[in-house]
């Protein structure tokens, strides 16, 4: 296991029972979304090999369905499951932020 993995594990643990994410973890997640999700979806979420994830493209889409896509990926496409790296609470927060527009 690499050092890069550690922040996800520790912060995921910290997020655990209370539900609310720490400001530091929220900052890490925004970094993750822009830099790593952004590898396919674009750093500004306007899309690339993956679909656009802008507020207008996600408007009206079911939150649970979106959470499911992030947690388990889409079989037969390059969208990977993030379950090994993120908690349910973190994914719910990501869906909310994508719908609102990233800070």
């Amino acid at each position: 296991m690499s050092a890069a993995f550690a922040p996800f594990m520790s912060a995921a643990f910290a997020a655990g029972a209370a539900g609310a994410l720490s400001p530091a973890r929220e900052k890490e997640l925004v970094h993750l979304i822009r830099q790593d999700c952004g590898a396919c979806h674009g750093m500004t979420m306007k899309g690339g090999l993956g679909s656009p994830l802008l507020p207008e493209t996600l408007a009206g889409k079911d939150d649970d369905a979106l959470k499911g896509i992030i947690m388990d990926g889409i079989h037969g496409t390059p969208m990977p499951p993030w379950r090994p790296l993120l908690t349910e609470g973190e994914v719910a927060w990501i869906v909310k932020k994508l719908k609102e527009g990233l800070p």
């Binding site: 830099q35 590898a39 750093m43 500004t44 090999l49 496409t77």
Partner: protein, 393 residues
């Protein structure tokens, strides 16, 4: 007297960086760019003294960006995520011209004679061709339409000898070869059903073989451009053997120097392996277990070593493979988020971008010792002007 002063002032104003420190004009053989992906800028760098010559801003969204170079090595053409095509003057460290040519682009290629520049686009899917001097449009090649009416995304665009370009249609699984001898009437040969979701491709340095990686099924698609009757065939059909892939958090990139000696090295998708194939027969000659899922597997220009970086979250590590023994000979952690590496033209040094460290580190490729570092804002691609002289780059 006044004339002389005016002349001197004009010369100074015109040539801030095109001269070296000692005042002599300089070449571009040791120049290159570092892409700063978050702020949409590039740094112009030189690899002899290992310094930055300055920063050029205003290149738009460079979150996924790459570049090719003019035939004389003076200009870099940078392709941005926002469909921007920016011509950067390396000697004056400024933008010569910038256009927005599509909604979303992925990369491009320079024609053999240096006159045409082709861009691969996601939105709208297809290839657009421009005059490399003026950036005026020359040709438009829309990709195949999908069921929903939008066009297939285009990936893996590369130049071929004879004013030709080769590229891959991601959504519809095709490889096209476009002959731009008459730019007004591109002649296109289409190869269909090459495999599911070809995500990137490369052309070998001789321009003979074009290899597309497949996301949707096992193996890779190979086109032999020297064959009397060109057709696409599957190579490494059993690689993967239908086994479930690991989640892929970063798509591998195939473009680069992958040919090393008598082998071609390729990143395996969804596996902790680098694949080696025979460069003539394209038969499987081995798999090298590595630290994570490879993103780039790049041969040092002499071909003796292949350097490999990895996908999130194992991207703090680099490994070096000896291409004769097929073993990893060096593993180290240069820093967080190793995104790209570029060898100096003869391979004595390698420059490595460390996105989350905000710097580019430079290593000696014989001793693996760090010999320099340049601060850079969220650096991604590093591209040297020596690419101007290479087929397929």
């Amino acid at each position: 007297m006044r004339k002389i002063i005016l002349f001197a002032a004009a010369a100074l104003a015109l040539a801030p960086v095109s001269a070296r420190a000692d005042g002599a004009p300089r070449g571009t053989g040791d120049l290159g760019i570092v892409i700063e992906r978050a702020q949409g800028s590039v740094q112009v760098v030189e690899t002899t003294g290992r310094t930055s010559l300055g920063r050029v801003t205003g290149l738009g969204d460079l979150s996924h960006a790459t570049a090719v170079f003019s035939r004389d090595g003076r200009y870099a053409y940078v392709f941005g995520r926002d469909g921007g095509l920016t011509k950067v003057d390396l000697l004056r460290v400024k933008i010569e011209k910038r256009i927005i040519q599509s909604g979303n682009s992925i990369g491009g290629a320079m024609s053999q004679d240096g006159r045409l520049i082709a861009v691969a686009n996601y939105t709208p899917g297809g290839v657009k061709v421009f005059d490399s001097r003026t950036l005026d449009p020359v040709a438009d090649i829309p990709a195949t339409a999908k069921a929903d009416g939008t066009r297939s995304k285009v990936v893996g665009l590369a130049d071929l000898p004879g004013q030709k370009f080769v590229f891959t249609l991601y959504d519809t699984g095709e490889i096209w070869v476009a002959d731009l001898a008459d730019p007004a009437k591109p002649a296109i040969i289409k190869f269909k059903d090459v495999g599911k979701l070809p995500y990137d491709a490369l052309v070998t340095p001789d321009g003979r073989h074009y290899i597309a990686g497949l996301f949707g099924e096992d193996g890779l698609a190979l086109l032999d451009l020297w064959a009397p009757e060109m057709k696409v065939r599957r190579i490494l059909p059993n690689y993967g053997q239908g086994a479930e892939k690991l989640p892929v958090y970063k798509m591998p990139h195939l473009r680069g120097w992958a040919k090393a000696g008598d082998k071609v090295f390729l990143p395996a998708i969804g596996r902790h392996e680098v694949l080696a194939v025979d460069a003539r027969t394209y038969e499987d000659v081995g798999r090298i277990p590595v630290h994570g899922q490879p993103v780039f597997a790049m041969a040092r220009p002499d071909g003796r070593h292949v350097w490999v970086n990895f996908a999130h979250p194992l991207y703090d590590t680099l490994q070096v493979i000896d291409t004769v023994t097929m073993k990893v000979v060096h593993t180290f952690q240069p820093g967080r988020a190793v995104l790209h590496m570029e060898f100096t033209p003869k391979g004595e040094h390698v420059w490595v971008s460390l996105r989350d460290e905000d710097r580019v580190d430079i290593f000696d490729t014989a001793s693996f010792r760090k010999i320099g570092s340049i601060p850079a804002d969220k650096p991604s691609g590093i591209l040297f002007a020596a690419r101007a002289n290479r087929i397929g780059l």
